[in-house]
Subunit: 92 residues, 14 copies
Amino acid sequence: MDSNTVIAAVSIFTAGITIAIGSIGPALGEGRALAQALSAIAQQPDEASTITRTLFVGLAMVESTAIYCFVISMILIFANPFWNHFMQAATR
Amino acid sequence: MDSNTVIAAVSIFTAGITIAIGSIGPALGEGRALAQALSAIAQQPDEASTITRTLFVGLAMVESTAIYCFVISMILIFANPFWNHFMQAATR
Amino acid sequence: MDSNTVIAAVSIFTAGITIAIGSIGPALGEGRALAQALSAIAQQPDEASTITRTLFVGLAMVESTAIYCFVISMILIFANPFWNHFMQAATR
Amino acid sequence: MDSNTVIAAVSIFTAGITIAIGSIGPALGEGRALAQALSAIAQQPDEASTITRTLFVGLAMVESTAIYCFVISMILIFANPFWNHFMQAATR
Amino acid sequence: MDSNTVIAAVSIFTAGITIAIGSIGPALGEGRALAQALSAIAQQPDEASTITRTLFVGLAMVESTAIYCFVISMILIFANPFWNHFMQAATR
Amino acid sequence: MDSNTVIAAVSIFTAGITIAIGSIGPALGEGRALAQALSAIAQQPDEASTITRTLFVGLAMVESTAIYCFVISMILIFANPFWNHFMQAATR
Amino acid sequence: MDSNTVIAAVSIFTAGITIAIGSIGPALGEGRALAQALSAIAQQPDEASTITRTLFVGLAMVESTAIYCFVISMILIFANPFWNHFMQAATR
Amino acid sequence: MDSNTVIAAVSIFTAGITIAIGSIGPALGEGRALAQALSAIAQQPDEASTITRTLFVGLAMVESTAIYCFVISMILIFANPFWNHFMQAATR
Amino acid sequence: MDSNTVIAAVSIFTAGITIAIGSIGPALGEGRALAQALSAIAQQPDEASTITRTLFVGLAMVESTAIYCFVISMILIFANPFWNHFMQAATR
Amino acid sequence: MDSNTVIAAVSIFTAGITIAIGSIGPALGEGRALAQALSAIAQQPDEASTITRTLFVGLAMVESTAIYCFVISMILIFANPFWNHFMQAATR
Amino acid sequence: MDSNTVIAAVSIFTAGITIAIGSIGPALGEGRALAQALSAIAQQPDEASTITRTLFVGLAMVESTAIYCFVISMILIFANPFWNHFMQAATR
Amino acid sequence: MDSNTVIAAVSIFTAGITIAIGSIGPALGEGRALAQALSAIAQQPDEASTITRTLFVGLAMVESTAIYCFVISMILIFANPFWNHFMQAATR
Amino acid sequence: MDSNTVIAAVSIFTAGITIAIGSIGPALGEGRALAQALSAIAQQPDEASTITRTLFVGLAMVESTAIYCFVISMILIFANPFWNHFMQAATR
Amino acid sequence: MDSNTVIAAVSIFTAGITIAIGSIGPALGEGRALAQALSAIAQQPDEASTITRTLFVGLAMVESTAIYCFVISMILIFANPFWNHFMQAATR
């Protein structure tokens, strides 16, 4: 296998596995927070607006770790500097 | 094995495993939130509409991590830039 | 092994393992939500219709992650673009 | 090993492992829902018919993920398009 | 190793591992449901007949996933289409 | 290694591992149900006969998954169709 | 390595690992049931005889899965049909 | 490596790993039962003799699965029929 | 494979796996803290501002471990000193 | 590697791993029983002597599984029949 | 592969995996402590300042283990003594 | 690699891994017992001396399994009979 | 690969993995203790000084196991006796 | 690779992994005991001195298992008898 093939194969595999593993933690964490939010609303309906606001700000923070993974995954597919290097080397 | 075969095999395997692993977290997290929502409705029926609304907005957020995986998976099968590169290289 | 064999073998294996792993999360999540729904009905029978409606909309959302896996799995078996490529290459 | 042997071996192994892994989640999820249903009936006998109906509709939904696996498994054994391709190629 | 040996070895191994892994989930799920049923009977003896009936219908549904595995396992040993193919090829 | 050795080695290993893994689930499930049964008898001694009857019918159902494994294991040792095939081939 | 060595090595390893893995489930299940039995006796001393009787019948059922493993393990060491076959082949 | 070395190495490794893995389940199960027994005595001191008697009969039953492993382990070291076969073959 | 290819492949794979594994802990930890915060607000609405403030300062601290991983991941892709070394060596 | 080296290396590795894995179960089980014993004494100080006596008899039983592992481990190091065989063969 | 490539590849991989694995524990531990802090504030608002102070001193201590990993990770990338050695050897 | 190197390498690795794995169980078990002891003292301060005495005797018993591992580990490093054999063989 | 490369690569990898794995336990343990400390302060504010003092002395003890790992990790990077040996051998 | 390199590499890797794995158990166990101690002080402040004394004696005992690992780790790095043997053999 030549260099291009190796880099492409590794990039594809890493991009997939990164977002796959990286979605487990955020999904579970968000699910837990969401469940507790619903329980809290049922317990204290008068505070529903405070709870909902805190929930969505917090969810955005948890989601950020999933987005880090998604960003890395997208960089590896569409803006991979190593791939670009080998492409330039090939066309030079 | 030539380059095309390697890239195709890796793409197929990664596409499958990405959505497979990536569906575990969201499914468990959504199941947990849904379970708690039903419990909250039973506990505070008067707040059913608030709970249901918060639930579905939250579920959409959890679902987003599954959709990241699905998007990567679809990109790898139908819009794989590495595969396109090797196809162009072959037809050139 | 020639390219066709490799692509076919990888597609078969990935199709199977994708739906196999991808069914664990949704099944557990749906089971949990369903269990809680039954408990909620027993606790608040008057809200049975609201609970059941929320349950089935939620289950459909959880099921969606299983369906993503099933779709990828079916694509890999019956509409695999990489396999089609090699078939066309062979008949050309 | 020639192509036919590889495809057959991979198909057999994948068919088995798909239904094996794919039965863990549904079985556990159904067991959990069933357990809660019985507890709910004991708690609220008057709602036994509603609980039982919701239970069986829900179980059918959980079972669906097991059936996806079973369908893929059966397709791989009895209607495997890749195997058919190699069979036709051999007889041609 | 010739084709027959490979197919036979893979079939034997897959048949065993399929039913082995496939029995974990149903056994645990059924055990859980059964445990809850007994607890429900102790709690509400007057509903023993409803509980028992629901239990056995539910257990049959859980058992079905174990039976899927057993069916695949038996097919692989006694009605393996791939093995039959190679047998016919050998006798032809 | 010739075919006979491979088939025999795979059969031996699979027979053992099948019943070994296959005994984990049923044993845990039965232990759980049995524990709950004893607790239920202590809680409601008057229903001891109903509980015990339900327990043993249920245990038989759980045990069935262990027996599937035992059956496959015994078939692989004493009535292995693949082994018989190679034996006949050798004596022919 | 000749056939005899392979068969013997596989038989030894499988015999050991079968009973080793196969003892985990029954031991945990029996320990759980036994623990609950003692708790039930402390809770309802008047039913000690019923509880003890149900306990030992149930333990025997759980133990049966361990015994399946022990039987397979013993067969592989002392009455291994594959080993006997190769012994007869060697003396013939 | 000649046959004797292989058989000896496999026997040594299997003997050790059998009792090592086989001691996990019984030790945990016995520890659990013992813990519950002490709790039961503290709760119902008047039944201490019944509890203790049931405890030790039950522990003996749990211990039996550890002893199965120990027996297999000892057979593999000191009365290994496969080893004896190769020894006789060597001296013949 | 030459040095450049190895370094690039390892960098790509490590960058992905670092952020993937590194997002599990923070996401779960933040989800847990967020869930508890919502529960605390429901329990003591008057302290909502103190709780929310403490929550977001704490979340930032937990997020820091995810950011360490993201920083390392970005360094490996865009400012990798080892890659730079080999690039300079190549152009020299 | 000659036979002696293989046997010695396998014996050393197995001896260590046997007692290492074999100490996990007993240590956890004993710790649990001990913890419950202290709780039971605090709950029922008058029964301290009965509880302590039962505790130490029970601990001895749990410890027995660790001792099985220690015995096998020691046999493999200091009284290994396979090693003795090869030593005798070498000196003969 | 020459020495430089090996050292660089190992350093890159180790740097990533060190901080990735090393962030799991601190993130979970901090999340747990933070969750409990919020619960404590809700329970005892008058002690909010003491709780918050203790929380942040404690979080700093937990964070220290993550920082150890980050330090090692940074040393391996930017101040790796082994890499420096090989660089000096190369330029000498 | 000659025999001495193999034996030394295996001894070093086994000595380390034995005490490493072997310290997990005792440390967790002792921690649990110690935690419960402190809870028991807080609950029943008058029995502090009985509880402490039972605790330390029990801890010594749990510690014994760690010491078995330490003994084996030390024997493998400083009094390894297999190593001594090869040393004597070399000097002879 | 020559000796220097092997020793350097192993040292780098071990240094990273040692602190990575070694930070999991202390971080979780400290997080748990810290969480309980905050809960204890909320429950008994008058004892805040005693609790805090005990907490920090205890945390230092838990931290010590992380520091052992850090020390070993630093020794392997900056004061590795094996590396020094090979350096001296090379310069001699 | 010559003997010295192998022994050094194995010693380095084992020293690191020994203390890494060996710190998990003690850290978790100590964290648990410490957490319970703080809870006990809050519950029974008058017994703070007894609890603290018992805690630190117990922690020392748990710490001992971590110290066993540290000792073995240090011996492997600084007083490794196998390494000394090969050094003496080399200088002789």
